[in-house]
Subunit: 336 residues, 2 copies
């Protein structure tokens, strides 16, 4: 009989949590019992899993000693409140909220730095990076043998779902109001997000950068294991429900060999390379897929050592749920 694991998902009713349940089922993760946890608001709701309904329970009441692996897919504050209880119960933690210090729970993207696991001891605590850092790491990891990357300048058009299900409802509501020529009343955002692009996600700090931008910068360096990499990130919100689009300019140490770059991207399992002329988009291509899409691969117009590309990635799938499940798969395959 093969080994199974009892699992808890905190934030199971959210954008990421729902997809976590789906991805675990799709990939036939060897689950004994699945515990779905959320706030008291959703306690009692039921979620389909493997043809049965799993009842959602309040995390506050949960006995973590019932499970071996816990996914933290709620807000930072929730991870703060419950991580130590899960640790005390000896659980392996996979954090999707970016809350745990990276020294405690290193950032991991299997395609880029799976080797980091070998440096850890059980019980494991691992962080899944923010969606844009994952997308960039997946796209750039196979290029490390082909070009010497000095600097990455990225503008990320984040999907509204990046801010969770309330953002998704607000975009739908605002769009319907505008199409029905009703007066627009922004609620979740402080202004119109439908048919608009919001230049920042959350308040920036004194440096002028928002948390999602600072996470992108720091996490990309960690995951590519390149502390001297220079990263410039601008994260904005586009009126798109799902899928992050990234415009990326990579400054390399020397002239870019486009044939070699394309070959490396083509060879990467987690990348769907779209040939020149055509291009990938989030809707129609990336959303719902496990791979990230890369296209518009081109050398700088004025600079032969510049490589430009466009990435379309599912923020909730590879950007969150899938990456976290892949981390769990690595854990159970090699270490548990």
């Amino acid at each position: 009989m093969s080994q199974t694991f009892d699992i808890a998902i905190i934030g199971a009713t959210g954008t990421v949590g729902e997809t976590l349940v789906q991805v675990l089922e799709e990939r036939e993760f060897p689950i004994g019992t699945l515990h779905l946890l959320a706030s008291i608001e959703s306690a009692g709701a039921s979620v389909p899993f493997r043809g049965k309904n799993v009842r959602v329970r309040e995390v506050e009441q949960f006995d973590f000693s019932q499970v071996q692996i816990v996914f933290f897919a709620a807000a930072e504050a929730v991870t703060h409140s419950f991580a130590s209880r899960a640790q005390a119960a000896g659980c392996h933690l996979i954090d999707l909220s970016g809350t745990l210090p990276t020294e405690q729970a290193p950032m991991l993207v299997p395609e880029a730095n799976a080797d980091v696991l070998a440096t850890l001891k059980a019980p494991f605590q691992i962080s899944s990076p923010s969606p844009c850092a994952i997308a960039l790491a997946v796209a750039l990891a196979p290029l490390r043998d082909v070009v010497s990357i000095e600097r990455v300048t990225a503008t990320a058009c984040l999907a509204i779902s990046s801010v969770g299900r309330e953002g998704v409802s607000e975009l739908a509501r605002q769009t319907a109001e505008l199409l029905n020529v009703r007066p627009l009343e922004p609620r979740f955002f402080d202004r119109q997000v439908a048919f608009n692009v919001l230049a920042q996600v959350g308040k920036p700090d004194a440096s002028g950068y928002s948390r999602v931008e600072k996470r992108l910068v720091e996490e990309l360096k960690l995951v590519l294991a390149q502390p001297s990499l220079k990263v410039s990130a601008t994260c904005v919100l586009a009126p798109v429900f799902f899928g992050d689009s990234l415009s990326v300019s990579v400054q390399c140490a020397g002239p870019v060999d486009l044939v070699a770059v394309n070959a490396a991207l083509e060879a990467a399992d987690s990348i769907e390379l779209v040939e020149e002329g055509d291009y990938p988009t989030v809707v129609g291509d990336a959303v719902g897929q496990d791979v990230i899409y890369v296209g518009r691969v081109r050398v700088g117009f004025d600079e032969l050592s510049e490589l430009n590309l466009w990435i379309a990635s599912d923020n909730v799938r590879k950007g969150a749920a899938l990456n976290a499940v892949q981390i769990a798969e690595l854990l159970i395959k090699h270490y548990l």
Copy 2:
């Protein structure tokens, strides 16, 4: 009695042409007779101007000797067909289609290179650059005294109206279809543009760059009179009706003095500077305004010689119609 000018607008029924008529009226441009021209499709339509209706006529039948100034605000092919007739009639030409060779009709943004007019002879032929080149030129021109700009990396999220009124209708139609859960049938674009970001505008050439990107690169250098400037441009289409949003990273020769940069932007008449913490957007801020909005002004997170900023600009107004009218105003003030 003050001098007046007889004027023709070719493409008067289009996105840009309609705004040209409005801007000429708003700014009380000294017009004798206004001739509105389009294809045979719109001949007979009427457009309000100064409290009267002006009848649209077919450009094919037009006698250019009736006017002194012609605005070309239709497709490139239309400029190709009629520019020589207007020249032969001795008209001054202002081209918004980017068709005329720049040696013949230099690119002009009054805020950046008004001095180029002094090098020309009557009859004048002048080009109004593409909207993103104008927005970048307006934003960067006042910074030339403060920082030494070596390289500009820009990702421009263009409004759907950049591709004209058919693009606008298609975004509205697709959005309504999706909200009403009807099957989506892309027509003008080859895919879903509602709630999506299209990674390129038009087909790129062998270099991988689209025409709008190449224009941005070339026009910015011309208008800033900085042929050695390196420009990296990615132009994508956002599901936004009006207004271009630009994420801009400027590489300078030395550390950026943010106080001086903010002071220079603040002092520029054509710029509305939005203070840190807040940020401008196209809807609600830039659209319908003569100024461009600049915000998120910040030094590179990893690089003190990098300056990042965000620009929101009305592609049809300062990006086209207003800039063209300002060119005409300079002409009549100093040269006619």
